[in-house]
Amino acid sequence: MRAIQHLSALAPLALAAFAHADAGSDAGAGVLGQQLVTGLSNGMIIALIAIGYTMVYGIIELINFAHGDLCTLGSFMALTVAGALGMEMWSGVGGLTGVILLLVTAATFCAALNWSIDRAVYRPLRSAPKLTLLVSAIGCSFVLVNLSLFWGGLPMQVFGGGVAAAAPKDFPALVSDNSLLPDAWRLNFTSSDLMVWSVTLPLMVALTVLVRSTRLGKAMRAVAQNPTAASLMGINVDRVIGATFVIGGALGGFASVIYALYNNTISFQMGYRTGMDAFTAAVLGGIGSMPGAVVGGLLIGVARALSDGYIEARWTNSVVFAILIATLVFRPSGLLGAKLRDKV
């Protein structure tokens, strides 16, 4: 119910935005609509990554700083596979097969990597102070960034022959950017947008089902509430945490592929940017809350698009950080989150 109250609190804002557009010319409304479509699609991708942050935070209270960079590695993996199989040439049904293949590869890869990171880096520090864990996560993020940089230097055609490792890489356009709507609507909703929605929505539904009604989901909620009590009830806490990292990693892997397909370019540093967007989304929605991560992701996606369109693209990152800081200062529990108090 709280969730609905908060959403209704947002409604006037959204109405105000539309009213503003109506006051402008027709073209203004078209631009606004387009910004909203792009913003919502990017927001879905951000939301998918944000879920990875929020799940890990919910269960071990760690801001998993390396999550964004994990996604970067996921898209580099996808690009490697695409390059090795010559996917630039695939189109139509072939393109669809390619997308599914990339999604599965990247998700598996990211899930395995995220699990290994937890096993090797975070698990030995379970009982250490929280800031120790956070500093390790930052260290881990830097290592992953550097691995992406080296990966970009692979002597493959898709990586530009391995000459300019740090340069952004083009990602093959497996999904077309033609609008699916009639021209008269003056609104582009492309196959790429459709792909984003048709990948993210089922994943979110599946995740909700998993958390709400499976044994694992129950165990995850129990560990999030109280690890000690959960382990006394016979739950293998380390395995549940490992599973959380696997799920978060897999979602990050899916997100990395649709990000690459939607934006058609990837670079070794993008994880920092998308990671911060996703983290902001998680905090805005209320960290630890999965519906919150989705709402936050959509809001951040739209905020970015509006800032690109109505302020200036070069200020967009600052706008996102300002939202982050303002949320943390004025409403640290986020829009949908439970009130958190500093444990003493």
Binding site: K130, V143, V145, L147, L149, G153, M276, F279, L328, V329
Partner: protein, 328 residues
């Protein structure tokens, strides 16, 4: 440590070591590390945006000295302006945010770092955008004259300022405020029961740390006669500062000096040497991504943080806690 630095300054020329040039970087970053040490080491607040204060220092120094602005107050007064600007920025960031929990505060400082960088980049009417502000004047002293390309006066100046900063930090640590910092770090609840109000105490730490970081930024800009582009003061620098404090040992002043020597030594001296050796051996060629020392920095910083947290979270030279009633 400092005696060793003096010795190095004296012996560098006769022994032909040519280490004073890179050592200037060590000294400036030691100053930055001292600033972060006040915030993270003494007070226990994880700060991920020290580069922002360095940038604010560099730009404050540049705006008060460069001849494209009306102020041109000269090197020494500008250092004062730099420190004050840093302290003010520290207050501004700290005032609304210091009530936050530890990890949230860390993220806010990170966001602050990014915003400052964006502002420097985008307000090009004032900050000259990516060109940076230049040329900046070098300091001058009665006997030495104006500092030029000779690295020795710079080295001695930076060393002298560092010695002053070390002295300042040691005194602060033992002062009433310093003891309040340590108390808040150890147990905020207990500290507030003993009559310490945590937020002003933390604010003071923020401002002190920011002032030291700003000084480091001002000196850096003066050394290169330019603020450089805003992108130079990025997250990597903040993390470098964090590595310096963590390697040495949080809260340990000697530790910061060791940390700066280790980290800058690795990043600016050992990595380039390793890269040129690898190239000479024909193992990698310069166009390869592995061949440039810069491309290894993230990996080095990351591994340092992870390994230190796992193996020696107290650092190489851990701070010793004085026992109650002890002290010198």
């Amino acid at each position: 440590m400092l005696a060793g630095a003096v010795l190095l300054g004296l012996l560098d020329r006769p022994l032909g070591l040519n280490l004073l040039d890179p050592m200037r970087g060590v000294l400036v970053f030691a100053l930055l590390g001292l600033g972060l040490n006040v915030v993270t080491g003494f007070t226990g607040l994880l700060h991920l945006g020290m580069a922002a204060f360095m940038a604010i220092g560099a730009y404050a120094f540049a705006i008060s000295t460069c001849d494209i602005y009306p102020f041109q107050i000269g090197f020494w007064p500008a250092l004062g302006v730099t420190a004050v600007a840093g302290a003010l920025a520290g207050f501004l960031l700290g005032a609304p945010t210091l009530g936050l929990r530890g990890d949230y505060l860390a993220i806010v400082t990170l966001g602050f770092g990014e915003i400052v960088q964006d502002v420097m980049k985008n307000l090009d009417a004032i900050t000259k955008g990516t060109q940076g502000i230049n040329p900046l004047p070098a300091p001058s002293l009665p006997v030495v004259g104006e500092f030029g390309t000779d690295e020795r006066p710079w080295y001695w100046l930076f060393l002298a300022l560092l010695v002053l900063a070390v002295k300042l930090c040691r005194n602060l640590e033992r002062s009433r405020t310093g003891r309040a910092w340590l108390a808040v770090r150890e147990d905020q609840l207990a500290a507030s029961c003993m009559g310490i109000t945590p937020i002003p105490v933390k604010m003071y730490a923020f401002a002190t740390g920011a002032a030291l970081a700003a000084l480091a930024g001002g000196l850096w800009a003066s050394l290169y006669q330019s603020t450089g582009e805003p992108g130079n003061y990025d997250f990597q620098i903040s993390i470098l500062a964090l590595c310096i404090v963590i390697v040495g040992g949080m809260g340990s002043i000697d530790g910061v000096l060791v940390g700066a020597l280790t980290m800058i030594g690795v990043a600016n001296i050992a990595l380039p040497k390793l890269a040129s050796w690898l190239q000479a051996q024909g193992i990698v060629n310069p166009s390869n991504v592995l061949g440039s020392p810069n491309n290894w920095k993230y990996l080095v910083f990351g591994v340092v943080l992870m390994v230190m947290m796992r193996v020696r979270p107290d650092g190489l030279l851990p701070a010793r806690l004085e026992r109650a009633g002890g002290g010198s």
